[in-house]
C-alpha cells in the first residue's frame, strides 16, 4: 500500500513548483478520468508520490475566443464546457465531434482535451482533431513557457515531449477563414464504450471549388496519433472531387503503421484508414461548403 499526497494549487507557479520539487514523481490531474483509472489498476507507468489537482488554476480553465488570436482552451476545460460554448459552436463546431464522443455524459463532465493529449493514447479521440485544426499547445516549466504544435507532443504510447516538471497550460486553435470545414470520426465495433480501432481527423479550406489547405491525422494506427502531411498536401490546389479525396485516403492508408491486436488486425486498420479518411474528408468538405 502506497501513500500518495494530494495537492491543489491555485497558480501555475505553485503547480510547476510542486511538479519540479517532486523530482519527477508528481502527476498533474485534470479530470482524472485516465489518471484515477490507472492509479487503481496500478499501471506501471503511473506511480506518483504526489497528485497535483490543476482544476483550481484560472489559466487552465480559460475558454475564450478572439477573431485574431483564435480559440484558447485551458488544459483542464471539460468536454461539456467545450460543446456548450457559443464560440466553439459558431467557429469550431467540429471540435464537438471529439468533445461529445469521449466517454458518456458523466465522463464528459470531467474529461479534458488537455488530459486526453497528455495521456498520449494512440487512440485519444481529441488529438487527431486538434492536429487537423493546427492546434498549438502552451507549456510552462521552471525555465519558462514554450509553444509546441500538438502533433509534436505525443512521442509514444503514454509518452509526451512535456517534461515531468512542466505543465500544459492551454491549447490554442488558430482562427479559420471562410470555407473551412473539419470532422473527426472513429470506428468502433459497438456504438459506445469502446476504443477507436481507427480514427481520422480531417480539415479542409475550400476557395472557388478548390482545396487551398487540408490536413489529415490518424488515431490508433501507430504508436502516436499521426499527422499525414502528404495526404493534406495532395489535396491542395485540387478541385473538390471524389477522386482527389480518394487519393488522400490512399495516402493516409499508406502512412498508417498499425499493429494487430484484440481490437483489430493491421490489415483491417489500414483498410479503415482508407474508409474513414474518405468519410471524414467528405464531411469536412460538406461542412466547408455549408459554411461558405
Amino acid at each position: 500500500m502506497k501513500w500518495i499526497d494530494f495537492e491543489k494549487p491555485n497558480t501555475v507557479e505553485d503547480a510547476v513548483k510542486l511538479l519540479s520539487d517532486s523530482g519527477g514523481n508528481a502527476r498533474a490531474m485534470a479530470g482524472g478520468t485516465d489518471l484515477i483509472v490507472m492509479l487503481r489498476v496500478g499501471h506501471p507507468r503511473v506511480n506518483p508520490d504526489v497528485v497535483v489537482d490543476i482544476k483550481s488554476i484560472p489559466e487552465l480553465n480559460e475558454l475564450s475566443y478572439d477573431a485574431n488570436k483564435g480559440l484558447t482552451v485551458g488544459a483542464a476545460v471539460e468536454c461539456y464546457k467545450i460543446y456548450g460554448d457559443d464560440n466553439v459552436n459558431s467557429h469550431f463546431s467540429a471540435l464537438n465531434d471529439s468533445a461529445t464522443l469521449i466517454g458518456g455524459t458523466q465522463i464528459q463532465g470531467r474529461a479534458s482535451f488537455g488530459g486526453n493529449l497528455c495521456n498520449a493514447a494512440p487512440s485519444g479521440d481529441s488529438i487527431p482533431n486538434m492536429i487537423a485544426h493546427r492546434a498549438v499547445a502552451t507549456i510552462t516549466g521552471p525555465s519558462g513557457t514554450r509553444e509546441v504544435p500538438v502533433e509534436d507532443i505525443c512521442t509514444g504510447p503514454g509518452q509526451t515531449s512535456i517534461e515531468s516538471d512542466e505543465l500544459l497550460i492551454s491549447i490554442n486553435f488558430p482562427s479559420n477563414g471562410a470555407g473551412f470545414g473539419a470532422n473527426y470520426i472513429r470506428f468502433i465495433p459497438r456504438n459506445e464504450m469502446d476504443i477507436a480501432v481507427a480514427g481520422v481527423g480531417a480539415s479542409v479550406t475550400i476557395e472557388d471549388g478548390k482545396f487551398t489547405s487540408a490536413r489529415v491525422s490518424l488515431a490508433s494506427v501507430a504508436p502516436t496519433p499521426l499527422l499525414v502531411e502528404e495526404a493534406g498536401e495532395a489535396l491542395v490546389g485540387q478541385p473538390v472531387s471524389e477522386g482527389a479525396i480518394q487519393k488522400a485516403a490512399d495516402l493516409a492508408k499508406a502512412a498508417a503503421k498499425p499493429i494487430s491486436d484484440m481490437r483489430g488486425t493491421a490489415d483491417y486498420r489500414k483498410h479503415l484508414c482508407d474508409v474513414l479518411t474518405r468519410r471524414a474528408l467528405t464531411t469536412a468538405v460538406e461542412r466547408a461548403q455549408g459554411a461558405s
Binding site: 456504438n191 464504450m193 484484440m262 483489430g264
Partner: protein, 748 residues
C-alpha cells in the same frame, strides 16, 4: 391460441383461467434492489473481517516447481497464507487443483496461493512477495491443437474414454460419445441435396455484472459458515464438505443477493480458499474477484469445432443428419458437449442421424455452464446448414423446418421420445408474425433460426407458514436471479386464493430449508414453483381441516376457493382465509405446510428468432435492425419475467454472435479481460427485442410450466449468421462475426 393479431411482446395464451398465474405483479425484492439496500456478497462486513487475495498463474501451462511464501508471511498485516497443501488429502484432486493448483498450472489465472491480511492493500502487496518457480510448457489453446498428434499433454493421468470404455491411451481427449439413429449412409444415399460445412466458435463468458465473492467464518466449534454469490447454496455446501472432508451438516451456506450467474456461478472458486484462511486465522475472511480475475479464473463456455452434414430430398424431407462436435473443456474434463449432442438436431424428426461428441482439455479456465451450455455452439452450425439446405431446395426456411419438425412422439437423435412439445407452434408463430410477413427494408438481410433446450427438474423444497393477519411466509432455497421469488410466490398464491402481495418469499440458507438444487437448467420456476404448489396444497388441506374443527363438521364437505373456506352442504358456513388465520392459535396452533419434490415431468423448450440486419459494406459492421424472439414457455407464470428471459437470452446471443470472444495471445493469455475490450452489447447496440410467448402447456407441471431461461440463447447466433448471409452473400462459419471478420470474408 390465435396468431391473427399480434402486438409487440404478446402472449399466445392457453385457455385455463387463473387468478394470479399469468399476471404481472411487482417483485417482492424490487424496493430493496432499486434503493441499493439489497446485500450482495461484496457488501458483506463483520467485526474483525480479514481480506483475502489470490496469487494466480501467469502461465497457461507450467509445472509448479516450488512455492516460497516466507517473505509474504512476514509482511506486517498478513495473517495467513494457504496453498494446495492446506487441503485434506482426500477428495477429487482435479477439483482441488482448480481451487489452488498443486503440481501444475493449466491456465493463466489459475489460483496458486491465498493470502489473508488486515486490508486488501496489504494482501495485494503480499502477493508480490511470493516466489513461485515454474517450468513453462507449451500451451494448447484449441481443440484442433489439443487433438493433434504430438500435442502437448495437460494431464499424464487422463486417458480417453471411447464410447464408454477406457482406452488407456493418454491424450487431451477426455471422452468420445456417439448417438446413432437409423443409418446415415443409407440416408445420405437417398438425399437429393447435401450441405456440409465446418464451423468454429470462440470461448465466451457469461458476463454477469457481479464478480465472484465469498466470505467464510470457521468457528472454534468446527462449524463453517460461508456467505457467497452462488446459483446453488447446497452445491457450495456439498462441494465444501467434500473438499474440506467434513460432514455437510458442519457447513452452512448463506446465499447473498446475486448479480447474475447464467450458469457461471454454479462452481466454487473462492469459498474453499476463504474457508482455509479463516480456519488458520479464526477470523472471517472475505475474497472478491476483480473483473480480470472473473474473466481469467471463472468458468466461461467453450470454443468449439463443429462439422455438420445434412441431406434432404427435393420435397424437403431430411433423410440424414451428421454432427461432429469437439468442445473445449478447459483445464479439466467436462465440456458441455454432452448437452450439445442432446440438442443439435432435436428440433427435427430425422430418420437417420449420427452425432459424435468429443470432450477436449485445453489450457484455458475450466468451462462452466452458460445458459443452454453447448446448444448455441451446435445450433450455430446446424441451423446455418438447414438454411443453406432451404436455399438449395428453393424452399422457405420456416417451411423446410415445419416439414421436418419434431412433435409429440418423435424420437430424439439421442434417444428420448418427446412428450408434448411446442416446436411446431413456435415455427407457425414465427411464420405468421408481422415481422416475417413484412418486406425487408432496403439494404437489410433477414435470417431465422430455432433452438432447443431440454431443461431439468431435480430437488426443491418449500415451507409456508401462515401469519395471523392472513399473509404467509414462504421460505425456499433457490437463489433468485431473474425474479423467481415472485414466480414461486405466485404458485402458492394461486393455490391459496390470496393476493401474491400477501406472500412473503425469502431465500434462506442451507440450515433453514430442505435440499434444493441449483438455480440453473431452467428448473427454478418449474421445480421450486412446484414445491411451493405442494406446500400450499398442504396448507390448504390443513385450513380445511381446521375449519372443520371450528365448525364441527366433516372436512370432506368443505372446500377452499379464492381464499374462502365454505361448505358444500351448508351455505351459511363461510370463512375467509384471513378470518381463519386469526383463530389458529386458539384452535390448535399455527399452520405451516412444507414440501420437497423432485419432479420428473420436465418439458423442453423451443425458441426461434427472426432477425433483420444491415451490414456496412465498407467496415463490415453489423447493425441489428429488428429482432423477434418467439418461445414456447409452457405457461408464463409472470409474463414480464418470461419476456425478460427471452430478451436477455437474445441479447447474450447477439453479443456472442457479433463481438464477444476470449482473445488469446500465443502464450495463452487473454488480452481483452476487461469490459472495455470484451465487447458485450450495450443498450445502444440493440433494437427493442420483440417477444412472442407461445404457451403449449407442459402436462408434467400443475400449471404447465416449462423452463424458459435457456432455449432463447440458442437461436441468435445462426439467425444473425443467416441474416448476414442474406445481406452480404457471405457465409460466416466462425464466431464472432465481428466487423473485421465480415469485411475480410469472401462472398459465396
Amino acid at each position: 391460441m390465435t396468431t391473427a393479431d399480434y402486438e409487440r411482446n404478446m402472449v399466445l395464451a392457453t385457455d385455463t383461467d387463473y387468478k394470479v398465474i399469468g399476471t404481472r405483479p411487482v417483485r417482492h425484492d424490487g424496493a430493496d434492489k432499486v434503493t441499493g439496500r439489497a446485500i450482495y456478497g461484496a457488501d458483506f462486513d463483520a467485526a474483525g473481517l480479514l481480506h483475502g487475495k489470490i496469487l494466480r498463474s501467469p502461465h497457461a501451462h507450467a509445472k509448479i516447481v516450488s512455492i516460497d511464501t516466507s517473505k509474504a508471511e512476514k509482511l506486517d498485516g498478513v495473517k495467513a497464507v494457504v496453498t494446495s497443501k492446506d487441503f485434506p488429502e482426500v477428495g477429487n484432486q482435479w477439483l482441488k487443483d482448480n481451487i489452488l493448483a498443486s503440481d501444475k498450472a493449466l491456465y493463466v489465472g489459475q489460483a496458486i496461493v491465498g493470502v489473508a491480511a488486515s486490508n486488501p492493500h496489504v494482501a495485494e502487496s503480499a502477493l508480490g512477495l511470493i516466489d513461485v518457480e515454474y517450468e513453462v510448457l507449451t500451451p494448447v489453446l484449441t481443440t484442433q491443437e489439443a487433438m493433434a498428434t504430438n500435442a502437448s499433454i495437460l494431464h499424464d493421468s487422463l486417458t480417453t474414454e471411447e464410447l464408454g470404455k477406457d482406452t488407456g491411451v493418454v491424450s487431451n481427449v477426455a471422452s468420445h460419445t456417439q448417438h446413432v439413429k437409423g443409418d446415415i449412409s443409407k440416408g445420405f444415399a437417398e438425399a437429393d441435396v447435401v450441405v456440409e460445412r465446418e464451423y468454429n466458435t470462440k470461448t465466451v463468458h457469461q458476463g454477469y455484472i457481479e464478480p465472484h465473492n465469498a466470505t467464510a467464518l470457521w468457528s472454534p466449534d468446527g462449524r463453517l459458515h460461508v456467505w457467497c454469490s452462488t446459483q446453488g447454496s447446497f452445491v457450495v455446501r456439498d462441494s465444501l464438505a467434500e473438499l474440506l472432508d467434513m460432514p455437510v451438516s458442519m457447513v452452512r451456506v448463506t446465499p447473498t443477493e446475486i448479480g447474475g450467474g447464467f450458469g457461471g456461478k454454479i462452481p466454487i472458486y473462492l469459498e474453499p480458499v476463504a474457508a482455509l484462511l479463516s480456519r488458520k486465522t479464526g477470523a472471517p475472511v472475505k475474497i472478491v474477484m476483480s473483473r480480470k480475475e472473473t474473466f481469467e479464473a471463472s468458468g466461461p463456455t467453450p470454443g468449439s469445432q463443429i462439422k455438420i452434414k445434412i441431406g434432404a430430398k427435393h420435397d424437403g424431407t431430411i433423410t440424414a443428419a451428421y454432427a461432429w462436435m469437439a468442445m473445449e473443456a478447459g483445464a479439466y474434463p467436462g465440456s458441455p458437449v454432452g448437452a450439445a449432442v442432446q440438442c443439435v438436431f432435436s428440433t427435427y424428426d430425422v430418420e437417420n442421424s449420427t452425432i459424435d461428441g468429443f470432450d477436449v482439455v485445453v489450457n484455458k479456465p475450466k468451462t462452466a455452464a452458460y445458459r443452454a451450455p453447448g446448444a448455441p455452439n451446435a445450433a450455430f452450425g446446424a441451423e446455418q446448414a438447414i438454411n443453406e439446405l432451404a436455399e438449395k431446395l428453393g424452399m422457405d426456411p420456416i417451411e423446410l423446418r415445419l416439414k421436418n419438425v419434431a412433435t409429440e412422439g418423435t424420437r430424439r437423435p439421442d434417444g428420448p421420445v418427446f412428450g408434448r412439445i411446442g416446436a411446431k407452434e413456435v415455427l407457425e408463430a414465427m411464420r405468421d408474425h408481422p415481422h416475417y410477413q413484412s418486406a425487408k427494408a432496403e439494404g437489410t438481410g433477414r435470417g431465422i433460426s430455432i433452438g432447443f433446450w431440454f431443461n431439468i427438474g431435480f430437488d426443491s423444497a418449500c415451507n409456508i407458514a401462515v401469519n395471523k393477519d392472513g399473509s404467509v411466509n414462504l421460505t425456499e432455497g433457490s437463489t433468485d436471479i431473474g425474479g423467481s421469488r415472485t414466480s414461486i410466490a405466485m404458485h402458492a398464491a394461486e393455490v391459496l386464493g390470496i393476493p401474491v402481495e400477501d406472500v412473503r418469499p425469502s431465500v434462506v440458507d442451507t440450515d433453514t430449508i430442505g435440499f434444493t438444487a441449483v438455480t440453473g437448467g431452467s428448473r427454478t420456476t418449474f421445480a421450486t414453483g412446484w414445491a411451493a404448489y405442494e406446500a400450499a396444497q398442504d396448507v390448504k388441506k390443513q385450513c380445511i381441516d381446521r375449519a372443520a374443527i371450528i365448525w364441527d363438521v366433516d372436512a370432506n364437505n368443505l372446500q377452499m376457493e379464492d381464499g374462502v373456506i365454505s361448505s358444500q352442504s351448508d351455505s351459511e358456513l363461510k370463512m375467509t382465509f384471513k378470518e381463519l388465520a386469526e383463530q389458529l392459535s386458539d384452535t390448535g396452533g399455527g399452520i405451516s405446510g412444507s414440501a420437497s419434490v423432485n419432479p420428473s415431468g420436465v418439458g423442453g423448450s423451443f425458441a426461434g428468432n427472426i432477425a433483420d440486419v444491415s451490414v456496412d459494406p465498407d467496415t463490415g459492421k453489423t447493425t441489428v435492425e429488428r429482432f423477434t424472439c418467439v418461445q414456447d414457455v409452457g405457461k408464463a407464470i409472470h409474463p414480464s419475467y418470461v419476456e425478460g428471459q427471452m430478451q436477455g437470452g437474445s441479447v447474450q446471443g447477439i453479443g456472442w454472435a457479433l463481438n464477444e470472444e476470449y482473445f488469446m495471445n500465443d502464450e495463452g493469455t487473454m488480452t481483452n479481460s476487461s469490459l472495455l475490450d470484451y465487447r458485450m452489447p450495450t443498450s445502444l447496440d440493440l433494437p427493442m427485442i420483440d417477444t412472442v410467448i407461445v404457451e403449449v402447456a407442459n402436462p408434467g407441471h400443475p400449471f404447465g410450466v416449462r423452463g424458459v431461461g435457456e432455449a432463447n440463447i440458442v437461436p441468435p447466433t445462426p439467425a444473425l449468421a443467416n441474416a448476414i448471409y442474406d445481406a452480404t452473400g457471405k457465409r460466416m462459419t466462425s464466431l464472432p462475426m465481428s466487423p473485421g471478420a465480415i469485411q475480410s470474408a469472401d462472398a459465396e
